[in-house]
Amino acid sequence: MATTGGTDPMTDERPGDAPPERDDAVRAGVSEPPGEAPSAGGFGIVHAGGSPTPDAAGITGRSVRRGDRVFLGLAAGSGALLLVVMAAIAAFLIWQAMPALTAQSPWALLTTQSWNPGATPPVFGIAALLFGTVMSSVIAMVIAVPIAIGVALFISHYAARRAATTLGAVVDLLAAVPSLVFGMWGLYFLIPKTQGFQSWLTDYFSWIPLFNAHPRDAGGNPVLDGATGLPLSLTVQQYGKSLLMAGIVLAIMIIPVVSAVCREVFLQVPAETKDAAWALGSTKWEMIRTAVLPFGRAGMISAAMLGLGRALGETIAVALVLNSGFKINWVINEVGGDTFASIIALKFGEASGSELGIPALITAGLFLFAITLIVNSIARLIIARKKEFTA
């Protein structure tokens, strides 16, 4: 009863109120005596009237309770629907992937490097897909995260305040450019323009296994020169749709996402912490290193994880800039590579031709769903823990 508005001078306790009604209201979570609701016209101008309208003919305790019940039901129901959708996604994918999951031994499914669900017996496995997905995302992260943090620092601490707001909005805008467009740009502009760069990587960095590109035979071994016995080298035109390119396109796509989250975190650094660093005579970089970056560490990690989730699940851009090969190839500037998502988009057209075609693709989707779920959950848990810590 103490919470029923008695402390508010505007709402006098009137002895005429029927106790049962009041109990109804309290049970329904309403913190006011129901008898004193003003008429509908007064709601918008709550400051104006001063005294509540005693006429409560239309709104009895029962109707208040019903209204609140209905509204709470709608609101909570919407929330529940989201949970149901999440559960349904997992359930339906597992259900429809079953034929493909059980068609081979689990070991074969995990290690096979080919995609031929129409063959008898069906031969397909996720090894190359998992490798391509992880590798392209790792390349994207290595490029995007430092740049995105730099962009976030620039917008939050280097750019003039007015410019920073505009720049922030522009970066957010770029996060909304459809992935199809990134893919088309990668295919028509980036790949032709960077063949020289990819060949340069081989010329100077082939001592790193990742860049040791050669023409390869069907078994994946370098083709040897008949006369000298040395591996042949690729011509510049033979470079192109590689995992490196996919990684770069993904990096460009996730930089706006990652930097937007980092920027928000960097803007929340308490002024006292920064002022303390300034007062000790730090340079700007020392202030950032000692005050901003430690404060933003959890935020940066979760931003990176969100970007990773985006990169892992990106479909169309990757499908356009990769050349399907179903082989695990550690040389990232050689043509080839597949990801879970790209294979679903590219193989869907021909999948219905065989009994296991669609279930096999759904299996790929199931693995992708599981991986992104794990990555995103970790990111959110880090954020949640940080929130508790700062609160």
């Binding site: 508005g5 709550v46 989201l82 970066v171 450019v177 467009v181 679903i344 992104t372």
Partner: protein
């Protein structure tokens, strides 16, 4: 008095030697000159390598110079600042390149007939045709998605802001966040397994809308939640104090106050999914004729038209550089413009109706 005088006459002891203001410009000039010299000496092709070399040389020159004059700490500061500026340039350049490139490639295709014709009977190597059928499809599919997702999203946000306490609310918050990260192709696969495999339907436009709605929901929840949180507590409490029940307070006080923010949130959520391609590949199919009914038969959309024109759907495109290419870029440019208009519109709305500081 003497202290002030001596400080004015002699350089301050509190500030170390600093590089002149023109130092970065000079370092840049030297770096660019060396890079260009290297380009011709080593006969590099293209300008990308030269630019990168110039940037690295600039960084090295300025840091070394600063180190010799200003000392280690200032040199580090200059090094880090230069890198941060470089990061910004490195992020913005590709994005600007993408937008200019698509504008250059797409603009020639745009014409009145491109917007008023479908692709009915137009092969990849034939001239003519347009995106009318695809534009209709995109607008219908995205509208249906919004009609499904926005009410659910806004009601969930209301639940989280106004009612949400305890485990259930925490679970909803957590899964909304996780749902934000669902890849669009997985959402598409889910609707595919549910409607097409489970219920045995044929591909149709609104099936794509359901997948888009799944992608739109978490975005709508997140952003409307932010908007509802901005409504001052005082307004709610004033309403409660007048004895207004909670649901009417939400309906008559909270929602009207947050309305412009909610519209912004809705537009941003719509813009987020309007360009999605992956789920549509699985769900809507593609036809080159106009299909006005999203609930029956395959329906085109802008992303699917690009996908089809590039030969990715059927596996055979036309000759390289043929008319299909211009159409693909034209449709892609239209899609980008649609998304950008939605975005800019949403932000303008938010700006115009922003809460005025008193």
């Amino acid at each position: 008095m003497t202290a002030t005088l001596s400080r004015r006459s002699a350089p301050s002891q509190l500030v170390g030697a600093r590089l002149p203001k023109w130092a970065p410009a000079a370092a840049a000039a030297v770096a660019i000159a060396i890079a260009i010299a290297l380009r011709f000496l080593l006969s590099w092709t293209g300008w990308a390598t030269t630019t990168v070399t110039a940037a690295v040389l600039f960084l090295m020159t300025l840091t070394a110079w600063s180190f010799s004059v200003e000392g280690r700490r200032r040199a580090k500061d200059r090094f880090a600042s230069t890198l941060i500026y470089a990061c910004f340039v490195a992020a913005v350049v590709p994005l600007v390149l993408i937008l200019t490139y698509i504008a250059i490639r797409g603009f020639p295709a745009l014409s009145l007939s491109f917007f008023t014709h479908s692709m009915n009977g137009v092969g990849p190597d034939d001239d003519g045709g347009g995106l009318y059928h695809a534009l209709i499809g995109t607008l219908q599919q995205v509208t249906i998605a919004a009609v499904i997702a926005l009410p659910i999203g806004i009601f969930t946000a209301i639940y989280l802001v106004e009612y949400g306490r305890g485990t259930f609310a925490r679970a909803v918050t957590f899964f909304v966040d996780v749902m934000t990260g669902i890849p669009s192709i997985v959402a598409g696969l889910f609707v595919f397994t549910f409607l097409l495999l489970g219920l045995g339907m044929r591909p149709f436009g609104a099936a794509g809308s359901i997948a888009l709605a799944i992608l739109m929901m978490p975005v709508a929840v997140r952003s409307s939640e932010e908007m509802l949180k901005l409504v001052p507590r005082d307004l709610r409490e004033a309403s409660y104090a007048l004895g207004v029940p909670k649901w009417r307070t939400i309906l008559k006080v909270v929602l009207p106050t947050a309305l412009s923010g909610l519209i912004t949130a809705a537009l941003l959520a719509v813009a987020r999914v309007a360009g999605e391609t992956a789920p549509l590949i699985l769900l809507t199919g593609y036809v080159s004729q106009i299909n006005m009914n999203p609930f029956s038969g395959q329906q085109a959309s802008l992303p699917m038209m690009v996908w089809d024109q590039m030969g990715k759907r059927t596996g055979n495109s036309g000759a390289i550089g043929g008319p299909w290419e211009a159409r693909a870029w034209g449709a892609a440019l239209t899609l980008v413009l649609l998304v950008l208009i939605l975005n800019v519109g949403a932000r303008l709305l938010a700006y115009v109706f922003r809460p005025k500081a008193k």
